[in-house]
Symmetry: C2
Subunit: 418 residues, 2 copies
Amino acid sequence: MSNLKIGIIGFGTVGTGVYKTLANHDGIEILKIAVKNINKPRSIKLPEGLLTDNPFEIINNPDIDIVVELIGGVEPAWEYISTAIKNGKHIVTANKELLAKKGEELFNLAEKYNRVCLYEAAIAGGIPIIMPIKTILAGNNITKIQAILNGTTNYILTKMDMDGASYEDVLIEAQKLGYAETDPTGDVEGFDAAYKITTLATIAFKKRIKLENVYREGITKVRQKDMEQANEFGYKIKLIANASIDEYGNADVRVHPMLVSKNTTLAHIDYVTNAVELTGHPIGSIVLSGPGAGEFPTASSVVGDILAIKAEFGKTDYMLPMMRCHHETTATPIKIEDTYNKYYISITAPNAIGVIAKIGTICASKNISLASVLQRGVSENNTADIIVITEMCQERLIKEVVNELDNCTVNSLIRVAE
Amino acid sequence: MSNLKIGIIGFGTVGTGVYKTLANHDGIEILKIAVKNINKPRSIKLPEGLLTDNPFEIINNPDIDIVVELIGGVEPAWEYISTAIKNGKHIVTANKELLAKKGEELFNLAEKYNRVCLYEAAIAGGIPIIMPIKTILAGNNITKIQAILNGTTNYILTKMDMDGASYEDVLIEAQKLGYAETDPTGDVEGFDAAYKITTLATIAFKKRIKLENVYREGITKVRQKDMEQANEFGYKIKLIANASIDEYGNADVRVHPMLVSKNTTLAHIDYVTNAVELTGHPIGSIVLSGPGAGEFPTASSVVGDILAIKAEFGKTDYMLPMMRCHHETTATPIKIEDTYNKYYISITAPNAIGVIAKIGTICASKNISLASVLQRGVSENNTADIIVITEMCQERLIKEVVNELDNCTVNSLIRVAE
């Protein structure tokens, strides 16, 4: 049988890992790699003529079967991918932003041209998650996801916790080590995790989730002091991507810092490791964890997708039926104000006398039960630092509580995972 | 399109879970269920005529496309499955013992008749592991597996650790709760885990592992005192299924109790939960954890396999190419005496004077380095309890050390995970 022919667009860290990994696999030939700058020095020796600075030498090449898109971002990736599909190419991509913003168009186009578009590498790097959900877990009704999907923020939060360091100091260190970008916004403000949970929830719930309905809060306001206090109560603070759906198709999808109990697996997922907990019926709960990024782990997923296409290429009129996009309906979004959560609240009160009574009264007036309250002494200037952890209550009501705590400073309001 | 028609042989816990789960899936019809006793009262109402006490009404039924085998054991399961394949049926099975003992024959027969045999439920219950290894992880060279594959023993070890109870007391409790069988041999002596790691390593390493080459030790000799001492050194004791393979195809596959560092995920897999850690290139390490048994989790895997067959049924001449058996070679076994491990040794010495020197001298004479030594006081009758943890050394040599410790009682010798 003739070789399966591949073109790669984008040759950074992941592309290099894919190139090295495919070198060990027979029957696959990389015909062209499109890069921005042909003359840039590379860490590996490449055959003459393999590189091009014109992606259309791949997209319009009639010999190429699969286009592997590794440049990221919406444009020009969408132009490249959509043209490639129209030209009859199958697609393998690691582009989480494109999937979150253009997923519906992308999969509709792929179905129209009967081409597959695989994207295991876009979510949680090397962790097998998309293909397992689409195949061996297909009999399940998955209703809940809790996940750590961004290695940069998990690294920062882990270092803050372990070293007792501030967010600002750890960010600088992470930037020096290459774990955070010069402009860290995409990671630390939760955009990256929001892209990933949008696609992951869409696949798991078999209903489309729209990125604009995903609530998002980053980690920039998490104080080292909150971590200390969380630890005392038996929690770690993690940036958690949450998604849940009820039986009527109402979906609550969001990314924000959370206190997670030390009794859970997620609390022990440290540094750049990612993890995904899926809950549904009949399976119950499973946790899949591993490297969420990096040259080789991400290459594992890209190459897995390529091999899945290779296995069925030319042997059937409708390849990889389970890996296609099967849902046509969109979930109804639940607004963050309407969600129910437990909350950790750090309060500084100007006058210690009566403040616990005041907090208790305000919460009681809204039927909010308190799980834990801690006031440790009174400072010299008669202010008091108080930590409250509530039972489940509606976000709208907790915001009212915060507003009604006049005279007090609310230092932090962080949701607590059930 | 006409329904996919299924026959189920065996209708215990898992079968019932499969029946209930398939009720939610269109396009699949259960034609017959074979049971030992048709008149036994069942927890669910079944359509008239669904049950039979003759499995050949399924195996020889020309309308049935898939035979789901859920009776376990080698015979008569092998007769049923092999006849069904010859009759053109695809197979879904949860039978770990049959796979470990007859895997090669089974997959050769299935290939000969161009039928698929899927078995996700046989290993680690609901955890997606076989299909991910065969598909999205296919680009990897997996070289190491460490896994908790038996819920009964993990439950017993967890309870011993948490409650400070003896093996015997916890076993009785586990039997009362239904977590252990009346004759617990298959679980507590490690047979169940040995069956599972045999198949799991065969799949992961792409070389056949023979059950008779899998070293096996159960948990019956693990003392509560060992757990206490392990805890002090930062370890938990778990029944670990290990497999590793070198670049020449030499495989070391075994099941035995191990001290695992509390810094690892496996140390925190408690009660009946299972977990599989896979290490290889390019992925690095991933850990997949979840329910290893039970009606619904196991049904998730059985139904996942059925849906995979359904997706390609009738659409191609060679279904599910990635899920076929691809290896023809057998790994070369490494004998347990030739393996290298760290060891935990609990020693009682009759005379405290000079005993540490003696242990040190014997170990040094064999070039064995000691990582930790702990002697806590001397008892009234002048005996001393000593714990030694070694660095890596060959099993053959540590056995010599144990033999040469004359006058001392070696209470326990347990391997320590790296």
